[in-house]
Amino acid sequence: MRYHAVESFDEAVRISASATGITRFLAGGTDVLVQLRAGSIQPDDIIDIKHVPGVKDITRRADGGWDIGAAVSGIELGAHAELCRDWPGVVEGMRLVGSTQVQGRATLTGNLCNGSPAADSVPGLMAAGATVSVTGPDGARVVAVADIPKSPGKTNLKPGEVITRVHLPPRGENGGDCYLRFIPRTEMDIAVVGCAVSLRVSGDMITEATVALGAVAPTVVLVPAAGAALVGSALDDAALEALVTAARAACRPISDRRGTVEFRIEVAGVLARRAASIAYARAKGETA
């Protein structure tokens, strides 16, 4: 096993593009190191991108959106008051990952690249319409977060490609988002179901809504019908019922040691309703 502490993403790409065995990028390491210790992966090359300039930066763009470096930790996200004000749902998804110790290292980018359908930060990013910058042997491109996951443990990144930054769009006026997950305990667990809702209101009326579900399909999924169920409503019972129905209809879960098919479908509806209510209150400025 070779360990490379690179100084630039170009160097990272150079190494990974020429590597022939199993390669892993290391940011926080909270997945890679666990997999190493469990013996579930034995990489030939580990490329540590923590020392690339700028990877720990959170910056607001001129358009009001946000750029988040690939090695920004959950704790750093949570400590950024302005970002939390704009995108509380994105931040709370990331902050649910692991323990306090894990939070000191775990990253949005790593959570996305790990490819888990249960990744807690990914539904919030998808609901927010986030994108990522990708650098690879064929140059750089910007990709929607929703287009990254491919299947459990797999992404659509090409060989040699690495995510360099996460981009959140400008929040704009009267927006709110929320992420909720179900776990049997209070923390230190993996989502059995996760749901993020991002929406915008005009007065009491919802004008835009995006819903993403985690752990109910091979990848985190956007549920356009669930968002559509909310648009044009004031979050009345009929709209919520339509949201619940659409969310459940989008579920293609499995039964495993964490939950059954029936349970996941049922709870997806419950979380969608609860997350929508919180996002709605946030959009109206009624809660933090």
């Binding site: 049997p184 305990r185 349970f263």
Partner: protein, 748 residues
């Protein structure tokens, strides 16, 4: 000792000084199993079966042996043959013979110059298996047509015609069952199931073993009982017990799971094969969950008859338990006596079956068998109390066993404290706390026998009057502090002047492990006896110096004194003065005590829990939890409370989310703490405790063992609370949200 001779009015007993091992533990100075290192040490790794049941056709270690740094590879062929009974079981579990019997069963072990090389080597060892049909569920394992784990293992007790996996049958009872049920106004029965759970100690098994070709060796190991390690390793390896010196490390939890061996003989056998170089073997968490510990899984039928006023007229149980692929490992013989131990019931019948299954060899887990039994009986009692609109605590009080009651398992109780415990529970403010929507309250009682066991203690007077106490029971719950308090109290000196050491096998007679809630009871009782013996010698030294009869000297406040006016007028001789001169007055002064102490005091407990159930997700949140338990006398109340809280926490985990989950392939699906869901700190409220003190007449300070009873009531208490909160009565643990939600929806 008669009750009125119990000591009272204490200077130190009942106070809460810091534990002597506390600073070492919070600073990282304490040395646990994996902290032990030796020069020239090798590291071991173990190849484990990926199948629940498979014939081992061939083992090829040639590629591993060719790897640089690999010093030894062992298989079953490196162990002696011809063992019988439990010795054979231990050897068979240490390393598989012809057949791997469960997912995780050790097949080959390798020692190399580093842990990484050992792991690489383990991956290069090729084992060819022929997969066999398997069975992991207890009911399935005794059904016709179930795969036979091992023929001919059943003992004479098993009725004819049963499946060969049924290896033990037990029945006992008293009274007239038929008449008892005929006298009842309400008869109810139910079937209850509990899944296997792991002790979940934070410290994985770890040892360092060294064994020479001459059959002499040493072992440093994390264990609850190093004489057991010595005896078991000697038997498995075919060496002599006295030639193996075993030193216990500090221990990061055991809960019964460290009272036996799992991989220790592998380290010794590898050392012997590697020319006597010391070999270190540390388990990963996945190895711990797959191949050590767990407790049994159980399937239990209960039938109870009750009068309208709550009087229990009859009780009947039929329990089935599997404790893995090895005879004698299920706690069936403990579960049955615990079932009705809390109650005075005239007509009782108990039947139990032990069943083999393709699971790891079960080990003791805190009050083995009692939590399962209490889950079944206390759940059904709760259902019947609700049906008859009776207060569940008053019904338990009405039927409570007391001094003179013929217990459900035979003996007549001496002084016990269940009535006092129930009364303290009923008086507690938690019982009147208001409950909101979707919230419910559950209660349950529980019992554990406690245990004496082989005990040897030595006590040495130092030259400065400080006192060393050597005990053979590893300190897993604060026993060093408790023993120091009792010795200091007895000698009339300060707590800080007594140092209690857990010593190796060469230093004392044989000691049973710290199990059966016995360390503070048995080692404590022996230490008090040893202190009394030293006092007698110190009084004799004083008598000789004063030229008076030893009978005319008494001991008080840490000094020998003339007993009364007639004995003569001499200033007191303190323990320090006697110690300083002892080299010239007859030599070292030590006290010893060896015995199998009688007079164990059973401990009863009652738990009350308030739970809120989310009706949309089935998730249970524990809002409030109360443990009331009889300690006899709490020598160090903080550590007694810690035992109560620890037992409750483990029981809550067992009730709500902990379980061994096997796939259709018989492999364990959750061999890590991520998916083996022990409660995390934020899952639990502060657990309230009440220490009831009904002194045990069989101990000089009234001690009852307190360590185990606390895990007996929670399973039923939580299930009863969930039923009250949600209307969903679940008779199969754990009460995981998918199960509870399905039950809620089924009831709508």
């Amino acid at each position: 000792m008669p009750k009125d001779e119990l000591k009272a009015g204490f200077r130190l007993v009942g106070t809460r000084p810091n534990r002597p091992d506390g600073l070492d533990k919070v600073t990282g100075r304490a040395r646990y199993g994996a902290d032990i290192v030796a020069a020239n040490m090798l590291h071991a790794a173990v190849v484990r079966s990926p199948y629940a049941h498979a014939r081992i056709k061939s083992i090829d270690a040639s590629r591993a042996l060719a790897l640089e740094g690999v010093k030894a590879v062992i298989t079953r062929a490196d162990f002696p043959t011809g063992l019988t009974g439990e010795d054979w079981n231990l050897q068979e579990n240490t390393i598989a013979g012809d057949t791997a019997l469960y997912d995780g069963h050790a097949v080959v072990a390798v020692a190399a110059t580093s842990a990484l090389v050992a792991q690489d080597a383990a991956r290069l060892i090729e084992v060819e298996y022929e997969v066999l049909p398997h069975v992991t569920d207890v009911d399935a394992a005794m059904a016709p047509g179930a795969p036979v784990i091992r023929a001919g293992n059943a003992d004479h007790s098993v009725p004819e015609g049963m499946h060969p996996n049924v290896v033990r049958y037990i029945d006992f009872g008293h009274g007239d069952l038929e008449a008892g049920f005929a006298a009842a106004d309400l008869i109810r029965e139910g079937t209850y199931k509990t899944e296997a759970t792991h002790q979940g100690y934070i410290e994985p098994h770890a040892c360092l073993g060294q064994l020479g070709a001459d059959g002499r060796g040493e072992m440093w190991v994390c264990t609850q009982g190093h004489w057991y390690i010595r005896r078991m390793c000697a038997a498995v390896l075919g060496i002599e017990a006295a030639n193996l010196r075993v030193t216990p490390s500090e221990i990061g939890g055991g809960f019964g799971g460290k009272t036996t061996i799992f991989m220790e003989p592998l380290a010794l056998a590898l050392s012997r094969k590697a020319g006597g170089r010391p070999v270190k073997l540390v388990m990963s968490r996945a190895e711990v969950l797959r191949a050590t510990g767990p407790t049994a899984s159980a399937s239990m039928d209960v039938k109870i008859g009750m009068k309208k006023d709550g009087t229990i007229t009859a009780g009947q149980v039929n329990f089935r338990m599997q404790g893995g692929a090895f005879f004698g490992m299920s706690p069936i013989a403990e579960a049955l006596p615990c079932a009705f131990a809390c109650y005075d019931i005239p007509n009782l019948m108990h039947e139990g079956y032990e069943v083999l299954a393709n699971r790891p060899k079960a080990a003791a887990y805190r009050a083995p068998g009692s939590p399962m039994a209490a889950f079944a009986v206390e759940s059904l009692l709760d259902e019947m109390c609700r049906e008859l609109s009776l207060d569940p605590l008053q019904v338990r009080l009405k039927n409570a066993a007391k001094e003179g009651t013929k217990s459900s398992y035979g003996p007549t109780y001496n002084r016990i404290g269940l009535v006092e415990t129930l009364e303290a529970t009923i008086a507690h403010p938690n019982l009147s706390a208001p409950l909101g929507p979707n919230q419910g309250r559950g209660v349950a009682a529980g019992f554990w026998f406690n245990h004496g066991g082989e005990t040897s203690v030595s006590l040495q007077i130092g030259e400065d009057g400080t006192v060393g106490v050597s005990v053979g029971t590893p300190d897993i719950g604060g026993s060093r502090a408790s023993i120091a308090l009792m010795v200091a109290e007895t000698l009339g000196i300060e707590y800080e002047a007594v140092r209690v050491n857990v010593v190796e096998t060469g230093s004392l007679g044989v000691n049973e492990p710290t199990h059966g809630s016995r360390a503070t009871f048995a080692s404590g009782k022996a230490a008090v006896e040893a202190a009394e013996s030293a006092i007698k010698q110190m009084c004799a030294r004083a008598a000789a110096e004063w030229g008076i009869d030893p009978e005319a000297v008494e001991w008080a406040d840490g000094a020998a004194r003339p007993a009364g006016e007639n004995a003569g007028k001499f200033p007191p001789l303190t323990i320090g003065e006697i110690g300083a001169k002892m080299g010239g007055t007859g030599g070292p002064i030590s006290g010893h005590h060896e015995s199998v102490p009688g007079g164990v005091g059973a401990s009863f407990g009652v738990h009350v829990v308030d739970v809120e159930v989310d009706p949309e997700t089935g998730k249970s949140t524990v809002l409030r939890y109360l443990v009331v338990q009889d300690a006899g006398r709490a020598i160090h109340p903080a550590y007694v409370e810690g035992q109560y809280q620890g037992g409750a926490a483990q029981g809550i985990g067992w009730a709500l989310n902990e379980e061994y989950i096997y796939g259709a392939d018989g492999r364990l699906q959750n061999p890590m703490f991520l998916d083996y869901r022990i409660p995390v700190a934020s899952d639990l409220p502060m657990i309230d405790t009440v220490i009831v003190e009904v002194p045990n007449p069989g101990h000089p300070y009234g001690v009852r063992g307190v360590g185990e009873t606390g895990i007996a009531p929670p399973l039923a208490a939580v299930a009863n609370a969930v039923a009250a909160a949600s209307g969903a009565r679940l008779r199969t643990l754990p009460l995981s949200p998918p199960k509870v939600l399905a039950a809620i929806k089924a009831g709508q």
